[in-house]
């Protein structure tokens, strides 16, 4: 399987509101223990919908290579 070149990255100040879960077309985000959102990097396609909706503006779309 080929991974997309970009993916979402969650910032430290995530408020765990869950807005991003609702818009992710791949279901690639979950809230870990009510503390922060986490991205399944294999499932994320870096579409950026989560970044656009995030009310805290803590999601950035980055190059996959930069993360690894």
């Amino acid at each position: 399987m080929t991974l997309s070149p970009r993916l979402a990255q969650i910032g430290k100040e995530c408020v765990a509101c869950g807005s991003c879960l609702r818009v992710c077309p791949r279901g690639a985000i979950h809230i870990a223990s009510g503390v922060t959102a986490q991205v399944n990097s294999d499932a994320c396609v870096g579409c950026g919908r989560c970044a656009k909706i995030c009310p805290a503006d803590v999601i950035t779309i980055v190059q996959r290579r930069a993360v690894k």
């Binding site: 408020v15 765990a16 509101c17 809230i31 009510g34 805290a56």
Partner: protein, 190 residues
């Protein structure tokens, strides 16, 4: 994505306002919106209420899709200091509301008004509340004011920034996230 029953909880939020305006005693129902997220965080160690069941968040999301500027919010909004400070401020206001409820319980006269943003008295002829003890009615008036104030702030930041900007500094969200962090810390230690 197929919608689930809990995707319609924004209707419950609307219903709360309609019922409260018809009879202020329905304001007590708002305690559900306080207790369930706390219970979920304390017992389950999660923010499922915020993530799935928050009718207010859903309503802001729906209205925001039409009326929000969708602008990124200022950084301070998500800072620990602002969120913690706003929670503390809200708790003080809640405490003052409980105090006035106690005063009425102790014999002080009932004040039949709802105060918006802790300042403005709403010009509304509230329904008769003589069927319950005065302190029960006083709590309803105070609590409806708290709920209405937070909704107005939520709507304001919805328009100015992103639809669910309220979720960033919502006192309940801050509190439940704090509880989850504490719980996670404990589990990590064990």
């Amino acid at each position: 994505m197929k919608r689930k029953w809990y995707d319609y909880l924004w209707i419950a939020e609307l219903l709360y306002w309609v019922l409260g305006v018809c009879n202020i005693l329905f304001a007590w129902l708002g305690m559900v919106f306080f207790c369930i997220p706390l219970l979920m965080a304390i017992v389950g160690g999660n923010k499922t209420y915020c993530n799935r069941f928050c009718g207010r968040g859903q309503l802001l999301g729906l209205l925001g899709s039409k009326f929000s500027r969708n602008a990124p919010p200022p950084r301070f909004l998500r800072s620990r200091w602002f969120r913690g400070g706003f929670l503390a401020f809200f708790m003080v206001m809640f405490g003052l509301m409980l105090r006035s409820t106690y005063m009425v319980f102790s014999g002080a006269p009932l004040r039949q008004s709802v105060t918006l943003l802790w300042t403005f008295k709403l010009p509304w002829q509230w329904a008769e509340v003589g069927m319950v003890a005065p302190w029960v009615a006083q709590f309803a008036f105070g609590f409806f004011g708290v709920m209405m104030t937070s909704t107005v702030l939520g709507l304001l930041t919805m328009v100015l920034f992103r639809p669910r900007s309220w979720c960033v500094y919502c006192p309940m969200g801050t509190m439940t996230q704090g509880i989850c962090k504490l719980k996670q810390g404990k589990e990590d230690v064990q």
